[in-house]
Symmetry: C2
Subunit: 356 residues, 2 copies
Amino acid sequence: MRIAVIGLGLIGGSIALAARERLQAQTLGWDPDPNVLEIALTRGAIASRVGSLADAVAAADAVFVAAPVGSLPELISEVLAAAPADCVVSDVGSTKRAIVAAHGDERFVGGHPLAGAETAGIEHARADLFEGATWYLTPTQTTEGILYERLHRIISGLGARPAALDADTHDRLLALVSHLPHVFANVLVAMAATGSASDADRLPVVGPSFRDATRVAGANSGIWTDIYMSNRDALIPVIDEAIAHLAAVRETLDSGDAAALTSWNEAAGDDHRRLIAHQLAGGEWHELRVPVPNQPGVVAQLALELGRLGVNIADLALYPAADMTEGVVALWISGEDDASRAERLIGDLGFPVFRP
Amino acid sequence: MRIAVIGLGLIGGSIALAARERLQAQTLGWDPDPNVLEIALTRGAIASRVGSLADAVAAADAVFVAAPVGSLPELISEVLAAAPADCVVSDVGSTKRAIVAAHGDERFVGGHPLAGAETAGIEHARADLFEGATWYLTPTQTTEGILYERLHRIISGLGARPAALDADTHDRLLALVSHLPHVFANVLVAMAATGSASDADRLPVVGPSFRDATRVAGANSGIWTDIYMSNRDALIPVIDEAIAHLAAVRETLDSGDAAALTSWNEAAGDDHRRLIAHQLAGGEWHELRVPVPNQPGVVAQLALELGRLGVNIADLALYPAADMTEGVVALWISGEDDASRAERLIGDLGFPVFRP
């Protein structure tokens, strides 16, 4: 397996390290900064030096483009122009609509690992960065099934859990669970540091709740300005909703209604437990096999529909029939409940489904 | 040293454990729940069983009242009625104005350790809970100097860093650095769980920034309803300010001004680094000695004025003169800069100051 990584920062460098260590892949990489390339070589993230982006991807089975969101459309176009016909190309950008809309190529699948760290750069890359992390994939009706399966398998191999989602839902979801927490963190540090609520010359000592809530404050502008810009139409309504929530809390405080404050806080506790329980859901695995016509979009359709239902596909394999007219998709689903739901859904979609 | 703890939950139990292990204190304690008393005995937090709150404090040198904010005023009155004349009484409530206003007794000093954990209860108490934590004290002009010194010394001995602050400033500060982050956490989980920004049946997978930002969501209502209620007049303007900040971010997003987004994010990064650097400030210690008249309020005045300047008193000792008409306060200050500022301030207040 030859995997190329374009952009060798924290994420790209970690993909390359994980691909070598965990998948025994042959990794090539390219970065506009020669120092970064040098460190990637020294750290063993890439096997050898190449002269250009085109050289890095020319013989690849899979390419990951790991650059700031603003530069992704152009870089992905360059990669698609230079990559082989049977190579899957993905990216790791934090917003997906613009990128997916820009690339109708059947080899391209948008991606986004929910992993990162406070510290950027190849120096901090590590092979276990994606261990247990959700890695969103945004296939479309044009996505090639065999290439999607390869990407899914690679991402599982890196230690992550692939989850299919359409690009619109992805961007609204991320505005809520990632971009809004970043906005909140920035607001909290600005308020604490400018001291409107404290003495003029004094920075407050902050406790553990503040430190946790602001860990991502002022995150790398090289990444985050692009994220905010590319997702602003999804983030604005989410901020409006947050303002409405805060105004409601303010009213409850103003009314002095202790019972209402308790209800509000208890509901938040319930929500928190549900979110965490959902996060930790796991357990036994169930395999489903689905004979499917060998045509574009079928694998993507299954992955998207199951994703929409909240069913996580832990692993996925595609077995084309000898004559290439029909194949079998094998899906591994965590938990009997989710497996049963998946079975029903797939039946409803008109596909036969059986358990081996 | 005999230390009594009233209320043996996470905080009270940890005070008792730390007092025994680190100060070799004889600890007594009382809790309305007999099961909690039993566990406190088994875990070695308290040395023996007593029949009432009055029995626990009757011979104490110091008493900590560690109960929910709403029940503190009454409990502190009971403790002050039963405690000896030379016993210092403190509490650990998260808001201070109401409690301090209710107790003019020269033996009482309001307190608030910035420590806690997601899990409440004596079962989770531990002797190192306060290691390195800021512990606010809110002395007033009536506070007895010798008793204040004893409390300061005990709190340092528990591993914490005492910091003096007037009760008003404390409550405004905590609304900003603790209560607002809790409100934000509750808003985030409510939005993520009710799914207005995601598909109806689906709970989103959440990444590390969301998990950190919501760790305190739905914190124990038995504590937090009291906190919100007792501090609502300080918290409401802070929420208004947060809404104004969010509205400004929304406008910047709406304008599509990437440079303005970058400036905003970079400023947050600078604020974050300043807050963290301030938090980690430390290094060498400098001792200052201040001869002071032995009268109520002097030690509290010094502590408050230095606190106002942002100078942290790492340790403090009071050496009364033989005739009790005058004494010497020894202060240990971290860092030459802060020590020099403290020296100037104390001189400006009209006290002689020298370095031993």
